[in-house]
Symmetry: C2
Subunit: 385 residues, 2 copies
């Protein structure tokens, strides 16, 4: 396999963007990435999108977006792996370049979620769980992750304050990210006074329904080294894994086996360990998910994630900065865009272009993107060459 680098990034503002269609968002992020990479052609396109069929009544985005980018007849392919669609699309782009089949690939993640009312958005999102054994019984994702949080509190004595500190940190980071959905600071009291969604999860434990798109350009590392782009970022490791579609089938509610297995593969491929990683973006769809993620990725022992957050170890200036971009909670969670947006955020950091959120001396970064209740997980390790 050839080694692969990221040579361009683009991302739209995330949020409730009623003046922009999915087509607008897809084109905006892609053109930004193409301009950033300073390339004059593309060989292939991969698109991560979750469920445009139910959100905007449009499928076949692969062809639609190739067309709206003016890129016919180059091949274009759409990946759907629930909330991990963007991360898995990135892996497909990586494989195409690594295989030697193409030299320059555009990977785009996009979701347009705010054209429907909230119940419809909840319904669309619930299609990523097991509809016959979970969805049909009325459970949606806040309920599923509430079960995780309840069990985690029971097993490890996680406090409400520790949990609340996750969104507090992520809003603080997002407040300095101009592309983020939210720029407002929140307090522990704000989280604890926000409406109860599914006990113990409150509104501010839940990532928002957002519109947005993110894009990256990939190229073989050897070509990238001699390319006019100033700072190619190497893709050192990618691991993907699956777990049961329903959480009731698992031995543990609080350990996400797909994350563990995906991380093992990514660490092995990159020849890295958690202690080598300077910065991570994880999938905090709900605050409890960030705590489980930093444990399952090997940064803290199981059951100790809450204490780590409380001790400030996951802050930008902490031992391992977690979600310096603001994460899904602060930056927003346009589902199909999220995995690619995480990559964009890490590339900004490794290039030293993260402005007020810059982590000092960030040389190696990691992303963790999950689909459903962790039924798909994909972990990527990026580094400065």
């Amino acid at each position: 396999m050839r080694e692969v680098a990221i040579i361009g990034i683009g991302i739209t503002k995330f949020g409730v963007l009623w003046d922009k269609s999915l087509r607008d968002l897809a084109v905006e992020a892609s053109i930004e990435a193409i301009n950033d990479a300073k390339i004059d052609h593309i060989d292939s396109i991969y698109i991560g999108n979750y469920t445009s069929g139910t959100f905007i009544e449009q499928e076949h985005l692969a062809a639609l977006i190739a067309d709206y980018l003016g890129m016919n007849p180059i091949p274009s392919t759409k990946i759907e792996n629930a909330c991990a669609s963007g991360g898995v699309a990135f892996k497909m782009g990586f494989l195409e370049v690594a295989s030697g089949s193409s030299d320059i690939v555009l990977v785009l993640g996009v979701e347009k979620m705010t054209e429907v009312l909230t119940p419809r958005a909840s319904y669309s999102l619930s299609l990523a769980c097991d509809r016959e054994y979970e969805g049909m019984n009325g459970i949606t994702f806040p309920g599923l992750f509430a079960l995780v949080a309840k069990r985690y509190m029971y097993e490890f004595g996680l406090t409400r304050k520790q949990l609340s500190l996750v969104p507090v940190k992520n809003h603080k980071n997002a407040s300095k990210n101009l592309k983020a959905h939210f720029q407002n600071l929140i307090t522990v009291e704000d989280v604890e006074n926000s409406p109860l969604v599914a006990d113990p999860l409150r509104l501010y434990d839940c990532s928002p329904v957002s519109d947005g798109a993110a894009a990256v350009i990939l190229m073989p590392l050897e070509l990238a080294k001699n390319y006019k782009n100033t700072k190619p970022i190497k893709i050192s490791g990618i691991g993907q894994a699956s777990d049961t579609i329903s959480i009731y089938q698992r031995d543990s509610l609080v350990t996400f086996n797909a994350t563990i297995k995906a991380a093992e593969k990514a660490y092995k491929m990159a020849n890295k360990e958690p202690k080598d990683i300077d910065i991570i973006e994880v999938h905090d769809c709900f605050s409890i998910a960030e705590i489980c993620a930093i444990e399952d990725l090997g940064f803290f022992p199981k059951g100790k994630g809450g204490e780590a957050v409380e001790a400030g170890l996951t802050e930008i200036e902490g031992k391992i900065p977690v979600n310096p971009s603001g994460g899904l909670k602060g930056k927003g969670h346009p589902v199909g865009a999220t995995g690619v947006a995480q990559i964009v955020s890490i590339v900004e950091q490794l290039r030293g272009e993260a402005k007020e959120n810059q982590v000092k001396n960030a040389k190696i970064g990691l992303t963790q993107n999950i689909g459903g209740s962790g039924s798909t997980a994909i972990v990527t390790i990026l580094e400065v060459i």
Copy 2:
């Protein structure tokens, strides 16, 4: 890139299968392919499916099917490229093996379409056209392909009889295929007396709404040569291309540029020309599409496809047998399964296992799978080693 072979195939009965869920169909085809390949493990899964979100209110099939196959934690990925989802999923599996990232990959195509009423099925299918410029104006795919047929008749004098002979042939071939949706023979008169759907297309010009699944197992060719499977089939060429999402944007309504471009790539990669090909499976979603396909793939000059059909050149014993399996019209068209099912049919032929439909001395076969109104096209060339 490593060369890649197909070492196992599986396919369910296609049809209105009210006693089988999508899960059942996916598992049945996959297990048949795994048993056929005589393998004891899989490294990765790719799934072609169009719109399970709107057909059965279930997304995240990648995780669901890995789970129902008992294959956690191996990675599983879903591809959506409208009716070309299966063909493009096959390409992703090819890339993963070719890149060296995995040795044994399962590619599955599946669609469950008959749990909804016909208007809902038409709606779901229409999500593959441009919803804002085509769908919102009330046009669905029979209407789009009727425009193609009307224009083709105007430009080249195609007769109603020539068009009718396409489904007549495909039903004849399907009548000897036990897995086909239809086993009944039809006549030119039957086609011409069937209800008008969108002038000039009648009911028997249109492929049916079907349930079904098909699967293949891929392995590096070098490993496959020494493997216990009796007859590995080599993947010689794959080409994918895109065209405008809407047909009104094109210079010609009767030439499918994505098919032409995809075929150019596949022929070049395989170092083959149309005259080298012994047998083809093409995307006859509507009878006019088969005529355009055999021209765009280079088997007959543009405008001469109808005469070729009338002269019997596309029959099993003809110059170039087209859709010996029965095609989408006779075998059925469970959308996401179709591209993989075409591959399965060609492998059966190249192995000499196609029973009553066997084409004599078939050594090299080609498939053409399109999405939407030809907005995605993927062409694959397979050969006996």
